[in-house]
Amino acid sequence: MVDEQERFGISADGTTTYDTSMSARQNKIRIEFYGIPRQRVGSPGYHLPVNQQEIQLSELIEQLTQRFPSLQPDCFSQGLISPNVKLSLDGDHFVTDIDAWINIRQTLLVMSADAGG
């Protein structure tokens, strides 16, 4: 299980709660999970500690899958992004290049690929 401090919580009234202040996010990248990734992790999100102000996506995926092995193989496989998930930076831009850099001011959304409803 994930440490409570590292998890996003669900408050009593059902709203997602997380500390968005920069102090809480010092050298951490916020990651949010939607759909199957959330099912696999068992949590709406996670703050991934990083050593520097930014990290390459490939490194992030490696650390994330170490932390949450259950993300493999449905979401990530052998360090690559599965076609069954999509990644978005801040909800604005989708990213597929695992060499892309992500900084601690950004939030990475990990979601099921198919948005059909």
């Binding site: 999509k86 604005d92 831009h93 198919d114 409803g117």
Partner: protein
């Protein structure tokens, strides 16, 4: 009844359709040439072809002379997963344009076993009736006490009356009262959009019951079985996990995060009470079961008990999809899950399309706020008001008489530029994809022949990718809109479920292989791409016969003029949008305005 004189049909086909005239109480077999079948396949494609052949665009959709087609497909009855589907195609009483709505399960299999590839109905029965097609033989019986019954009750009663080997498609009270967004229900599922239930109601038909024993041969049964096994195996994989484990409703939290969840009549893109409605939350407090369509291995249907587990007394359950949660929840400002689930169940039983009723009520709520509509009780966030409005609409009582117009006609009745914020394109209420936040989807909505529609255009797939900027429509959006519209046209004509799309490595090539195993044809991926384009064009042709004008291919004025209240980035450039529409038309080979003849 005439005999079919068609040459031996291709595998998977009977090579004929059954044409029924309810006024004359007659039926006849009409041959379908192999060339026609190869050009239009089945489902939506065959349905629109049959309507064009019958000149159905010439008649008012609720008139005695109107036509409605139930179209099957070469895949129906095969071992291919998700293949038990049928299309209901008619001129829509809501939009006065083409409408093709799909549903699934045993009706498709039994209907095809009647010995036909489609059933075309015209005329009007003398009294409320049941249309029975028993192994290809038509008869009409009085509906009796079935008239007035809710969908599930009527289907259950009819099944007991006729026997369990009959499969029945029914309308609810909404269809009987000609509500223009009434559905046709079968096995709890609905051919939902565009009001095909009202078309049947106008013909005095409460239900169609089918039974049959006539099977189609397949060109390569062994190859087909092997293909089907492989496809089924892939359908158990991660590409469909979302649908199996959570259902479509899991879109709620993501769409809310992206501010693309239409809220309070498309004024905002996120909703403060969304966690309460999310399936991730519902599953913690309510019993949940899954259900499958016939011949489906995915099982996307998630049924939730309406009352929480700790409540007293009996509880019924209801199917929950993203679209009914969005339309009856955030769109109307409702966060109470019990109310939303109750409203969804009510719509299903009354036979009303949840998207259109939710969109129309949300629009009416805003009209009340603006002083355009005198119904002070109808307020955003008031769950009891939502339930009352749905009941009134199904009963055509009180304000329901106005809500039953749909948002476009209601707006025109109210005047005062209310049409600017009526959430519709071509009269069809928008589904749960905020156009300003998903601008390639916005284009798909605008140019769609059925109106604003997420099933005939999957352009949101591009918005959820790095191929386009979802906040800035561009010429590339036109390419993506066409790609997804063509793909949807083929899936709806083959017919296979769109939730399978993620399992194909090469959709057109694999579809060609699948079709060849059934039919014995030598079709190719390129041919199927051309077929998809032909079907899209046929829909447009039907609309032109109905009086389509280029100015219909647009979004409501508010969406073109204002950003979302909670996301300034979600703003459409009217100039870029107009350019994208023009490029779309050019890429289709049509005129800049969208006429089929490029010189017009």
């Amino acid at each position: 009844m005439q005999k079919n004189t068609c040459p031996k049909p291709a595998g998977g086909y009977h090579g004929r359709y059954l044409r029924i005239d309810l006024t004359q109480h007659t039926s006849e077999w009409i041959p379908l040439e192999n060339g026609v079948l190869r050009n239009f396949l089945g489902g939506s494609g065959l349905g629109v072809h049959l309507l064009l052949r019958e000149s159905a665009a010439d008649f008012a959709p609720l008139s005695r002379e109107a036509y409605i087609a139930f179209a099957f497909s070469p895949l129906v009855g095969s071992p291919l997963t998700t293949s038990a589907k049928f299309a209901v195609v008619s001129k829509s009483p809501l939009t006065d344009r083409i409408n093709d709505s799909l549903a699934s399960s045993g009706f498709a299999i039994a209907g095809k076993r009647s010995g036909c590839d489609g059933i075309v109905i015209t005329g009007k029965a003398r009294e409320p009736s049941i249309l029975i097609i028993d192994d290809g033989h038509m008869r009409i019986e009085p509906a009796g006490k079935l008239w007035g019954m809710e969908c599930s009750v009527a289907e259950d009663q009819l099944s007991k009356r006729l026997g369990a080997d009959f499969q029945c498609a029914v309308i609810g009270p909404g269809g009987e009262r000609l509500v223009p967004f009434a559905t046709i229900s079968h096995d709890g599922r609905h051919a939902g959009r565009g009001g095909s239930g009202a078309v049947l109601g106008a013909k005095n038909i409460k239900a169609i019951a089918v039974r049959g024993s006539q099977l189609c041969a397949w060109a390569d049964p062994a190859g087909l079985n092997q293909f089907a096994k492989t496809l089924s195996k892939k359908s158990f994989g991660p590409a469909t996990a979302k649908y199996r484990e959570l259902g479509t409703a899991t879109n709620l939290l993501l769409f809310n995060r992206l501010r693309s969840l239409p809220t309070r009549n498309f004024q905002e893109g996120s909703f403060e009470g969304i966690e309460q409605l999310a399936p991730e939350t519902l599953a913690q407090t309510r019993a949940r079961t899954r259900s499958y369509c016939a011949a489906c291995t995915i099982g996307c249907e998630h049924l939730y008990s309406i009352a929480p587990q700790d409540s007293e007394g009996p509880s019924s359950s209801t199917r929950i999809e993203y679209e009914n949660l969005f339309a009856l929840g955030p769109l109307c400002g409702i966060k109470d899950s019990h109310t939303v689930l109750t409203a969804s169940k009510l719509c299903d039983e009354q036979g009303l399309d949840t998207i259109s009723i939710g969109g129309t009520i949300a629009f009416a709520m805003e009209c009340v706020e603006r002083g355009l509509l005198d119904a002070p009780w109808l307020r955003f966030g008031d769950g009891q008001a939502l339930l009352r409005a749905i009941r009134d609409t199904a009963a055509l009582e009180g304000i329901g008489r106005q809500l039953a117009l749909g948002s476009r006609r209601l707006a025109k009745q109210l005047g005062n530029n209310a049409i600017d914020f009526a959430p519709q394109v071509k009269g069809l209420e928008l589904p749960g994809y905020e156009p300003r936040a998903l601008q390639t989807m916005a284009l798909g909505f605008a140019v769609g022949s059925r109106g604003a529609d997420h099933n005939r255009s999957g352009a949101y797939e591009a918005d959820f990718s790095e191929q386009v900027d979802r906040h800035n429509i561009s010429a590339l959006s036109a390419t993506k809109a066409i790609e997804t519209e063509d793909k949807a046209a083929l899936m709806d004509s083959l017919i296979i479920c769109k939730f399978l799309r993620g399992v194909f490595d090469n959709f057109y090539a694999e579809s060609a292989e699948m079709l060849n195993l059934i039919t014995g044809w030598n079709t190719t991926a390129a041919e199927l791409q051309a077929t998809a384009q032909r079907i899209v064009t046929a829909r447009k042709e039907f609309n032109i016969h109905c009086g389509w004008r280029p100015e219909e291919d647009r979004l409501p004025a508010r969406m073109m003029q204002n950003a979302l209240n909670d996301d300034e980035k979600a703003r459409i450039s009217p100039e870029e949008f107009a350019t994208a529409v023009k490029v779309y038309n050019q890429l289709r080979g049509w005129s800049d305005e969208g006429w089929l003849d490029p010189s017009e």
